[in-house]
């Protein structure tokens, strides 16, 4: 007894599964589309809180740190490497330069499959979106809108200031 048929079938399944990223990417029309975050164009928005390299790798850690410092320690200003001071406010400082997350954050985040939970608390600036997306967000069932109503950032701020 050799069971050649079963063994070959097994090998085909194994090779098929193992090489599935090849078939998947080769047949995907968007495989080679890389993220294209929209960068600020205004003259006074030419400098971020840290270097490009640092921000690409470590922004999440920085944001995490800011959150802790603001909420727990009451520190509200951040001094960057070149001495410039920034207010540690996500909505003002970050979104000030990058107003539309879908054009900025989501570009890379969707690409590498990292979900954000910024919008669990913060109001996602969705109103700047256009077309059908807008309608979707404004519909009564919209999760984002509901969250916005329930958890207004101002209320949140009050909650946290109380804890301080």
């Amino acid at each position: 007894m050799y069971d050649c048929g079963k063994i070959i079938a097994g090998l085909v399944i194994f090779v098929g599964l193992f090489t599935s990223p090849f078939w998947y990417d080769l047949s995907s029309s968007t495989a080679l589309q890389t993220p294209n975050p929209v960068l600020p164009t205004k003259a006074d928005q030419n400098e971020c809180v840290a270097s490009l390299e640092f921000m690409r790798r470590d922004h999440m850690a920085l944001l995490n740190e800011w959150r802790t410092e603001v909420v727990r320690d009451g520190i509200t200003y951040y001094r960057s490497a070149n001495g410039r001071e920034f207010e540690m406010r996500y909505t003002k400082t970050c979104l000030g330069c990058h107003p539309d997350p879908s054009q900025f954050c989501d570009q890379c985040h969707n690409y590498i499959g990292v979900s954000l939970y910024c919008w669990d608390c913060h109001n996602k600036p969705a109103l700047q979106r256009q077309g059908p997306q807008l309608a979707e967000i404004l519909s009564p069932k919209s999760e984002i809108l509901n969250k916005h109503q329930m958890q207004n950032p101002k209320q949140l701020k009050l909650m946290f200031s109380h804890r301080r």
Partner: protein, 330 residues
Amino acid sequence: MNAIFSLVAVIVIIAAAFLGASIPRLDFLFGVVFPYAAITVFLAGIIYRVIKWSASPVPFHIPTVAGQQKSLPWIKDSPLESPHNTWGVIGRMALEILFFRSLFRNTKMEMKSGPKLVYGSSKYLWLGAIAFHWSMLIIVLRHLRLFMQPIPSFVLGLDSLDGFFQVGLPGLYITDVLILIALSYLILRRLTVRRIRYFSLASDYFPLFLLFSIAGTGVLMRYFYRIDLVNVKELAVGLFSFHPAVPQGTGVLFYVHLFLVCTLLAYFPFSKLMHMPGIFLSPTRNLANNSRMKRHVNTWNHPVRVHTYEEYEDEFREKMREAGLPLDKE
């Protein structure tokens, strides 16, 4: 000694990757040439080994039975421990492959004075093995988010499941913790249990150290010395869609991780790691206990010298006649 040999081997591999990837012009080698070569060796090697195994027939029907056979209709058989048909075998194999059934049976013998032998259940090896293998599988599947574009939804689902506890940022994966604990246990067990160390070969330590280094560099890159994941994905998708391009500034640590993975892939077909395909072909597990129901054919069943009844009667005819036993030839 064997452990030190393996440890040195892994350190040399890490050092080679560290030095090699620091040289800018070697990016292409580490980022493109090695991965393609490793995948080729892995696949070709496994196919070659499995075909080589299959070239030898299964001459006899030798399942190791671990439960009641199917015999009389009123005796309850155990279809998963002593399967009598293909479905039972599939069930038994599934239990073995997915849940390590036989290892779960493990006991520990102790001799007390008297002498008195006692056997206790011993599930640590099973726990370590299952924690390692399942973590490994989930981690590999999670990596598909960096290999596939667009990302299939099951990968995202698995990712959020694995990061369920939302500890820290980037979120801690449960499997990252488990795999490091499980590998540490398996390494320590091999090093500290003298009986196991006695028969452990360099080729037993090497894959453990290699896997630990792979998991370790992965953890470092996620939680401590982060790298640019967009670059990583561009490189990976480029490889998988045969448009290889090496983005700049991905970081040396990443290349060390990648090179270790390449080493593992290329080493796999020549090592004991072949237990992965091998378990499917193990004749004591993948055959039904139906030996007397269905004839198993041996392809090389060559004739052997036998002592025929005629020869026997020729030798003992007189004695048989005297004893009054019937004879074929008077």
